[in-house]
Point group: C2
Chain length 245, copies 2
């Protein structure tokens, strides 16, 4: 474990939240100002941090590298045009989430018209038991389902499914119908429908969702979009080499 590198990551976590002055960085790390300064100077030399009027902020090289890493994800590259088309057709926010180890991470997002604020952001994880994309993936991964059921099922809203038996029943329904819904289970007043994306070998490691605030579209409204959603995820799956049902 490298102490300097650990500190550097903590600095970047801090600066991503908001710019900070040297004294604030030193205090946050619990080191002398000269130590913090040298660390920031090193990060600056690599483009990972930069100076602003107010102090220090995240450097653009970090942003460039992150974008490069995102662009190299196969699923995202293949899915992008399909997601864009679906977004144009239905006018709602579209998400693509991919399983990474045991976490489901948003890797693409087509935002709807108008300023709709929601939790999801590229790079953030989706709760497996309390999101449409999460349930759309869990329904086809029994081993991961057991892992999730064996852990805590936090109740984010009154609608969250926190009972393992209820979750199992819900996932059986999802598997049967081929899609999942989220009716305010993670964020109140945000609903979505989601469907799984299959890899060439048929395994499910990603999912797509159509999401909207309930003032814009109710779950019933979104269900009308299931044909387009399913067509989209099947097309993405075929483009990934899946030979179909």
């Amino acid at each position: 474990m490298s102490e300097g590198v650990d500190r550097a990551m903590r600095v970047l976590e801090l600066l991503a939240r908001e710019p900070a002055q040297l004294g604030g960085v030193a205090a946050d790390l619990g080191v002398h100002k000269s130590t913090a300064l040298r660390l920031l100077q090193t990060l600056e030399s690599g483009g990972f941090a930069r100076r602003t009027d107010g102090g220090w902020t995240v450097g653009l090289r970090l942003i460039d590298l992150a974008q490069q890493a995102l662009d190299s994800l196969d699923v995202r590259a293949v899915a992008r045009p399909h997601l864009a088309a679906l977004g144009r057709d239905c006018g709602h926010t579209i998400h693509l989430a991919q399983l990474v180890d045991d976490d489901l991470v948003y890797v693409d997002k087509i935002e709807a018209r108008g300023q709709v604020r929601m939790y999801s952001r590229i790079g953030r994880t989706a709760p497996l038991h309390a999101s449409g994309v999460g349930k759309a993936v869990l329904a086809y991964r029994p081993q991961l389902t057991r892992l999730v059921e064996g852990g805590a099922l936090p109740a984010y809203t009154p609608a969250t499914i926190s009972d393992p038996a209820a979750l199992r029943a819900e996932l059986a329904t999802v598997a049967e119908q081929g899609w999942a819904a989220d009716d305010g289970e993670f964020e109140p007043l945000i609903t979505c429908v989601a469907a799984p994306v299959r890899h060439a070998d048929g395994s499910v490691t990603a999912a797509v969702s159509v999401t909207a605030p309930t003032v814009v579209a109710t779950l019933a409204d979104l269900r009308h979009l299931l044909p387009q959603l399913l067509a989209t995820t099947q097309q993405i799956s075929r483009d990934l080499g899946w030979s179909g049902p």
Copy 2:
């Protein structure tokens, strides 16, 4: 200068390009495998690197932090809905580039329908003398123009303006007409029109462009979109607090 942190940044540069095995990382850094392994383990503990079947790759925490840093850019948040609307209206790729110190960096991009490959990517810098957004910013920043003219003006294509006097004349035209064009000056067969974005104090530190391959739209075609582009950049400027001409 922290050697460990410097190495960590170099590892991330490597992994963003493509996943690598431990031996490859050690060789690239010029250190022992045990040293490289400990460094990777540290990065993994912070979520900046993760293991894959093939070795090591960039971790999703890095992507999340980068997205968070992007989301905190005022210009981007304000501009986003306007760029989306412009993209819908004209059907071409829209860029937002912001000046950071003396570099102009793409901070947002609305991609057109269809798979159009071009150099620009969020996080990458645009060449100031050889791009529409670059010239749209330079035209209003005499000091930066002097800096650019005093340096090299690389010729990326036969159309690149490499002569300082010719660039000065071009920038005078841009200032007069209020917009810039790029007719294959950076990438052959890629054209755009661009206009500056003003901050509350009237200064120019960002620009928006409408870009297309010439097989899709010629420069003459894009010029027809100038009214919408100018309306968009003026609206963004007003939303940033600019009181107008």
